[in-house]
């Protein structure tokens, strides 16, 4: 394992009854980068994350995080990971402050009230400290889930589709949060099926399709290497992008999901970035 490698996945296989969700995946994530796993729904992104988080035992291969084998020592790995799953997992009956307190305790972290407020402030939720999850907008719930991912001051942050279902403003808010995590020296591994998100946010991208890694590089290098030349009409209108890369590599497009319109994201974004 090289010195700057923090996550090392070797020959990972995940099998559900009759579906091979991940097939012999090899992948390394470097310390301090924002790494994006880009792929359509069902590509095997969440299954891969589950194995890194120790939520699922691989059916083949190994995953190491900061030198710890996840299958052998899941607790050591869980301690250094910050996680946000595809479902935001917020108890409806607890307020934002109480949720932070509870999740922090699960990591044996006991923040003071001031520390909790500082964390909420950072995610634009100071006004919502006493609000319960159902009273928060989709974007606010997502930011709360991100705040919870940082309760244990993790070295590595794993985010499963952090912006799916958010409107463009809210997505940009999440991007700002992810960039700040990188500035603090954390490694971020996120999954997405938005090519613009991968291109904007990630230092390197692994394109996953059908449980197989089909390409891995920086966004620019991927485009330079795999995007076919645009037709003259297209070239006049736009630059080649990752969508073209995905199409060239798999013969299919990346299906985007409709985003939902949320409320106060724009206002919040204006005050933080």
């Amino acid at each position: 394992m090289q010195a700057d490698t923090i996550i090392e996945i070797q020959h990972l296989c995940v099998q559900y009854n009759n579906v091979q969700a991940v097939k012999q995946l090899d992948l390394t994530v470097r310390r301090g980068e924002v790494f994006g796993m880009l792929g359509p729904n069902g590509a095997g992104k969440s299954s891969t994350l589950s194995c890194i988080m120790g939520l699922r035992r691989p059916d083949g291969g190994t995953v190491r995080v900061d030198g710890h084998d996840v299958a052998r020592d899941p607790l050591a790995v869980k301690r250094i990971l910050g996680v946000q799953l595809q479902k935001s997992a917020l108890f409806n009956e607890l307020t934002a402050v109480e949720l932070i307190e509870l999740y922090a305790a699960l990591y044996e972290v006991f923040p003071t009230r001031a520390q909790i407020m500082a964390l909420l402030e950072r995610f634009g939720l100071a006004q919502k400290a006493g609000a319960r999850a159902p009273q928060l907008s989709g974007g606010q719930q997502q930011r709360l889930a991100l705040a919870i991912a940082l309760v244990n001051n993790p070295q590595v942050v794993l985010l499963d589709e952090p912006t799916t279902g958010l409107d463009p403003q809210a997505r940009r808010g999440v991007w700002a949060m992810v960039r700040r995590m990188r500035e603090e020296g954390r490694t971020v591994l996120l999954t997405t099926h938005y090519m613009d998100e991968a291109q904007e946010l990630c230092d390197r991208i692994g394109i996953i399709d059908n449980g197989v890694l089909v390409a891995l590089d920086t966004p620019l290098a991927l485009i330079a290497r795999h995007a076919p030349p645009l037709s003259p009409q297209d070239a006049a209108r736009r630059q080649p992008n990752l969508e073209d890369v995905f199409l060239a590599l798999t013969g299919r497009g990346l299906d985007g999901e409709q985003s939902l319109v949320q409320d106060d994201e724009a206002r919040w974004l204006a005050t933080t970035t």
Partner: protein
């Protein structure tokens, strides 16, 4: 320990703020006491005050509902919402989670039992000896543990929240009538009694009633204790074997 306390406190808040749980756990049993008290308030059943006899039944009914419906539904809901999975992603030993959950549920059931008994005493003058109530509450704790485990077993087997609720209710309703909780067992045909005496709610009320009210037990205490123990073991075995962090796909 501090971790346990925070988890305990959080789960307690969650339980005490859940409106549906509050209705079924407090309003419903206390409503039953008010209803029974209004109907049978001054009467006697075979020489004991009807209210004292019925109050023990309401306490056991609540313990049974809390396990079969409350625990079963809650666990499946947490699983469906992805909360179990998120908790599993944290480095929390399972024992701490299970202990905090069990402790919270037992505390809640005890508070409910105390509320039921107090209303019966204060509003309808039901009389219990302090030592009898104390011993009955110890038995109630053990019984509640059995029903919590049976609730976990239902949740482990049920594919969804809806299914969990349906299974819980399908077990709860027949057992409510075949149990000596409100309908004296003597009024059942003999063949039904032969079935009812193996019902865990029947066993629990048959242990609790003699210590709270001056009535004899229907069957030997050791038989009731052994039966409840076996139900508890059955619950643990099913729950441990079929527990899932995630919904089935």
């Amino acid at each position: 320990m501090r971790r346990f306390l925070v988890v305990f406190r959080s789960l307690l808040k969650i339980n005490l703020r859940d409106k549906a749980a509050l209705f079924w756990g407090f309003a419903f049993p206390i409503g039953l006491i008010l209803l029974y008290g209004t109907i049978w308030g001054g009467q006697d059943f075979n020489g004991v005050s009807a209210m004292t006899w019925l109050t023990v039944g309401v306490v056991v009914l609540n313990i049974m509902a809390s396990g079969f419906i409350g625990d079963a539904t809650w666990l499946t809901q947490m699983r469906a919402q992805g909360i179990l999975l998120r908790v599993q992603a944290a480095p929390l030993p399972r024992a701490v989670l299970v202990a905090a959950y069990g402790a919270v549920r037992l505390v809640i059931v005890l508070i409910q039992a105390a509320a039921i008994v107090l209303v019966a005493m204060l509003v309808f003058g039901a009389k219990f000896s302090l030592s009898g109530v104390a011993l009955a509450f110890v038995i109630a704790l053990g019984g509640a543990a059995v029903f919590i485990l049976l609730g976990q077993a239902i949740a482990a087997l049920a594919p969804s929240t809806g299914a969990s609720m349906a299974i819980g209710q399908c077990i709860y309703f027949p057992l409510m009538f075949l149990s000596n909780l409100f309908i004296p067992i003597e009024s059942l045909p003999a063949w039904l009694y032969g079935i009812a005496r193996w019902n865990p709610a029947y066993m629990l009320v048959d242990l609790m009633r003699p210590v709270m009210v001056a009535v004899p037990a229907q069957q030997a205490s050791w038989l009731n204790l052994l039966g409840l123990l076996l139900y508890g073991l059955l619950g643990i075995m099913i729950a441990a074997r079929f527990f899932r962090w995630e919904p089935k796909r």
